[in-house]
Structure formats: structure tokens, C-alpha cells
């Protein structure tokens, strides 16, 4: 049956897509421009892993598992410092139209680059730490959620880091800045900016800016993101503390 279905071409019926409308400074989901979605974070989602975390920001749902430090692949050369290996995948039903998640091939390397600066790689020489993420449902701003969730999972696995890594993105619509955009907003934005930072150290590990921006707008967006990142950091710390206190 599976082989038969592979040859059948199918298409998704055309459902009416809602465009984001901003009336009186309120977004389609009832948030204000500078208001993030409600976040739910929890560590220890996957028992088979050394550490794991589940993050839910609105409809964006992500699980990250961390394995290791464990033996590197046989083909790898000797290394004084540890290695970090990241992989991001999507479920086929995560996107509104089936199977579109595979378009985000760059996420694995983006996640790697966002995290490597924060991890003390010299604490696990010769070995590899694997960070695997699975997006269960994509409701917008997946990459920032994956990155924040991954750092929470690393902390759960007991991997030494300089600080938790948090990430928030902003979409730009002409004169308006919209934080933590949902899927519909992202698909018709003029520009987007994402910051990955270590809030307590005030250091940025990754910054991406795409689309049309004016200098003052970039500054405004960065301030907005950094503020949200430090708040997210507090929430993540609280989540880790709670998990630790229930263990005792």
C-alpha cells in the first residue's frame, strides 16, 4: 500500500487563508504588537535521552532531546575539545500543507551555530553531544523556539554552558514591529530579525536580519528582542529550578 501511494499525486484542498490584520494595534490572536505568545516549558520530556525539553509557544510545539557526551563517530579525527552535533526535523503534519517542513534544511546548522558559542566544549574532550529537535507543529517562529528549547534540554542533560541561550524574533510590517510572529504574520512580513543571546552575560551568539529595515527600526527591534530574551531566560531558569526541586 505504501509503495502504491508513493506513485499517486495528491494535493491539498484550497482552504481560505487568513491574512493578518492589525486593527487598533491588536493582532489576529488578540495579542498586542509587543506581546509574546504564552509559553509552556518542561524538562524531561523524553526518558530515553540524557536530557530533554518540550516547548510550546502558542501553536508552535517542539521537543528537543540531548544525547551524550558519547563516543564520536568512528570516522571523526581526534579532538581535544568536544563536538556538538545538531539536527532539526519536522513531522510531516506539522505544517498547514503536508510535508513543507523539509524546506527548512538550514535550521540544523543555524541551531549548531547558535549554541556552540555557549557550550563549554573543552569539558568533554574526544566525545560528542547530540542535540536533536523535532517540530511537532509549526505555528510560526520555529527557529527561536527550537534554540531556546535546545538550551533548556542541554541544561537538563547537565552539559556545562556559560549561560542559557534564549532567542526571540521580530517581524517588521512597514512601520509596525511585531514580536514573536505567528505563521500567517511571517508569511507576509516585510522583514524579520532574530536574536540569539545569553541574557545574563549580555552576549549575542547569533543575529539574523532579513528584508527591508531602516537603522532606527533595527535598533528598536534589537532592544525589543533583548528585553524579551532576558524575560524568557528568567522563565527557563524557573522551569529548571522547579524540575530540580521536584526531584529532591
Amino acid at each position: 500500500m505504501a509503495s502504491k501511494s508513493g506513485t499517486i499525486s495528491t494535493y491539498s484542498p484550497l482552504f481560505s487563508r487568513k491574512n493578518p490584520n492589525f486593527t487598533n494595534g491588536v493582532r489576529s490572536d488578540g495579542r498586542h504588537f509587543h506581546e509574546c505568545r504564552l509559553a509552556f516549558l518542561r524538562t524531561g520530556a523524553v526518558n530515553a535521552a540524557s536530557g530533554s525539553a518540550y516547548a510550546e509557544f502558542g501553536n508552535t510545539k517542539v521537543i528537543v532531546s540531548v544525547f551524550g557526551p558519547r563516543e564520536s563517530k568512528k570516522a571523526m579525527m581526534y579532538s581535544d575539545t568536544g563536538r556538538l552535533n545538531c539536527s532539526v526535523s519536522f513531522t510531516t503534519f506539522s505544517t498547514p500543507i503536508r510535508g513543507q517542513g523539509s524546506e527548512h534544511k538550514e535550521f540544523s546548522s543555524m541551531l549548531h551555530k547558535a549554541l556552540e558559542g555557549a557550550i563549554m566544549l573543552e569539558t568533554f574532550p574526544k566525545t560528542t553531544v547530540d542535540v536533536f529537535a523535532l517540530v511537532l507543529e509549526s505555528g510560526g517562529s520555529e527557529l527561536p523556539v527550537i534554540i531556546s528549547c535546545a538550551s533548556l534540554a542541554l541544561a537538563d542533560a547537565g552539559i556545562a554552558m556559560f549561560d542559557l541561550v534564549t532567542s526571540v524574533s521580530v517581524s517588521c510590517f512597514k512601520d509596525d514591529l511585531v514580536i514573536d510572529p505567528v505563521f500567517e504574520e511571517e508569511s507576509c512580513q516585510d522583514g524579520s530579525l532574530m536574536i540569539v543571546c545569553m541574557p545574563l552575560r549580555n552576549e549575542v551568539t547569533q543575529l539574523t536580519v532579513t528584508g527591508e529595515w531602516s537603522t532606527p527600526k533595527v535598533h528598536e527591534a534589537m532592544d525589543l528582542c533583548l528585553g524579551a530574551c532576558s524575560k524568557l531566560g528568567d522563565i527557563m531558569r524557573l522551569c529548571l529550578k522547579e524540575a530540580a526541586s521536584t526531584l529532591q
Binding site: A2, S9, T10, P13, A48
Partner: protein, 306 residues
């Protein structure tokens, strides 16, 4: 080896003994009719179904059996029916083990178990007549629904097939076919919320329905995996148990007690007729349990929606 382990036992910590002599560790438990997680041999782990966790999929369900976690989701698409069955839709079932679920799976090197379970799920769901493919027809010979049912293992801790089948069945039971109609170019468009404008604009809206409909389900298949080791029979094994004692037997029964599938993929322990009978008896009891759990989850789903 045997004698050595006896000597070491007295002075060894339990965890170390468990790692070094796993089989002896288990056998000492089994001789007392108990498992290391304090379960009796014939008791399955706590089972729960989370109703509709993913609002963007057409149907979804998450199942937990102990630590084993499965997430299934359904996406509906339109297909052109084949000429030999013009009034039938199609269902494609796929089982995935992403690298997050187990330390044994790495990206680019898929788990061996995944295609096996995929095929088993296909066989069971197709042969149990759970879905009538004729109900997936939209317009005979022109369009029909293709049901993409995908099951993801989020945490692998044994009895993967049981959990996968339960989550697949829960998603199918929750599936609602959205209202659609054929437009002038023969493409299928959603008629939800715009039913009136559609009927006004094009007169030939054949087979257009304006309300969501559920599928009529046939008898629902449930399964139980048993582990065979010497004279012992362990129900619903964990990953550790499966790795130490590799002989499994899976029984699939439907709600009316019909045997749908019996699967014993080799292994060093041979199953006697009496053992097989015992497994079927245990499965019959388990089906009652699972039926109740599924019923409760489905009524919960309805409450959420209304």
C-alpha cells in the same frame, strides 16, 4: 560465568549488578513473579491517550504506555482515484522513529524497527476493515480523499507496536472529513463557511456537503505484545526487557474478539501452543482495558470540541 556472578552478588551494588549481569538480575526477579519496575508479569503499564494535541492536523492523538510515547497525525489530501476502484479513497500509513526517541537512532541512519512496524500497521489496519475506503470518495472517478496517517515515536521504551497501533486508531476514530465541493475546473475546494456562495456561483456542485462528517468505523483492532523467556511470559515489555530477552509475540484482536494478526518474529524462544493460547487470553483482557481507555478519550475529544 554463572558461578562467578553468584560469588560477586553479595558485595555488589544493585545498579552495578543490573548492568553487568542483566539476565541474572531479571531472572532473580522473575522467579519471585515480579519485575524490576514492581509490576507483576501479566500487568501492562499505565496507558493514556491525549486527545487532539495538534489543532493544525486534520486529526491527531498522543498515546503513552509507560514511558513509550507515540504521536500520530492525519493530513487529508485529494487524489484522483485509480480506474479499477473509481469510488475508493486511499490510506497511507507510515511509522517514523526520529532521532529524538532513542539513543540508538541517529540522523541519516534510520532505525531498523521502523519499516517493520510500518508494514505491520498497514497490514493490521487494512485487514481489520477499520475504514471503508468507499467513504473516502468525493466524486466517483474524479476525486477522493487520500488519508496520510503518520505516527512518530517520541520516546521509545518497548512495546512500540502496541502504542503505535493505539495512537493510529485513536487518530482515525477522531478524524472528521471536512466539507468540500468540486469547482468548475474539477479541483476540490473547501466549502466550509462559504457554502452559500459556492452553490450560487456554480450550479454543478455535485456531492457537495456542508457539514463535517465522521467515518463509520468497523471493528477496532487492539494489540498486546508479550515477551517469552524460558517458562515466563511478560506482558507489555520495556525497552530494557526487550533488549535482554529478545523473543516477542504480538497478538492483535478486534473488539469482537476476532484474531487479526499473530506475529512472532523469530527469537531464541519457541512458543508452544499453550503459550500462544495464554498470550491470546491476556490480549483479550487487555483489549477490554484499551477499549475503555479509547472510549473515554474520544468522549473527552467531543467535549473539547463542543
Amino acid at each position: 560465568m554463572e558461578g562467578k556472578s553468584e560469588e560477586l552478588e553479595g558485595e555488589m551494588e544493585v545498579e552495578a549488578y543490573r548492568r553487568l549481569f542483566p539476565l541474572q538480575f531479571y531472572e532473580r526477579h522473575l522467579s519471585d513473579s515480579v519485575r524490576p519496575d514492581a509490576r507483576p508479569l501479566n500487568k501492562a503499564r499505565p496507558t493514556s491517550i491525549v486527545p487532539a494535541p495538534l489543532p493544525s492536523a486534520d486529526a491527531s492523538a498522543m498515546v503513552k504506555i509507560g514511558n513509550t510515547t507515540m504521536l500520530s497525525g492525519i493530513k487529508l489530501e485529494i487524489m484522483f482515484p485509480s480506474s479499477d476502484s473509481p469510488d475508493e479513497g486511499c490510506i497511507a500509513i507510515d511509522f517514523h522513529m526520529p532521532p529524538i526517541c532513542s539513543p540508538m537512532v541517529r540522523p541519516g541512519r534510520p532505525a531498523e524497527a521502523a519499516p517493520v512496524i510500518s508494514q505491520q500497521l498497514n497490514n493490521v489496519i487494512m485487514s481489520s476493515k477499520l475504514i471503508d475506503l468507499k467513504e473516502l470518495s468525493i466524486a466517483s472517478g474524479k476525486a477522493a480523499w487520500m488519508v496520510y496517517l503518520e505516527i512518530y515515536c517520541l520516546d521509545a521504551d518497548g512495546a512500540l507496536f502496541d502504542a503505535a497501533l493505539l495512537s493510529a486508531v485513536a487518530a482515525i476514530a477522531h478524524l472528521e472529513i471536512p466539507p468540500v465541493c468540486l469547482n468548475e475546473e474539477g479541483r476540490v475546494v473547501s466549502s466550509q463557511g462559504q457554502a452559500e456562495t459556492n452553490t450560487d456561483n456554480n450550479g454543478n456542485t455535485n456531492n457537495s456537503n456542508t457539514e463535517k462528517r465522521k467515518l463509520t468505523l468497523g471493528s477496532i483492532p487492539f494489540s498486546l505484545t508479550c515477551l517469552l523467556h524460558k517458562q515466563y511470559l511478560l506482558v507489555d515489555p520495556t525497552d530494557e526487557e526487550e533488549s535482554i530477552m529478545p523473543s516477542l509475540l504480538t497478538v492483535v484482536l478486534d473488539t469482537s474478539g476476532h484474531l487479526i494478526s499473530l506475529y512472532k518474529p523469530g527469537g531464541p524462544v519457541l512458543a508452544y501452543t499453550s503459550t500462544t493460547k495464554n498470550c491470546v487470553a491476556l490480549a483479550t483482557r487487555r483489549v477490554k482495558e484499551l477499549e475503555k481507555i479509547l472510549k473515554e478519550a474520544l468522549s473527552e475529544m467531543d467535549v473539547i470540541e463542543n
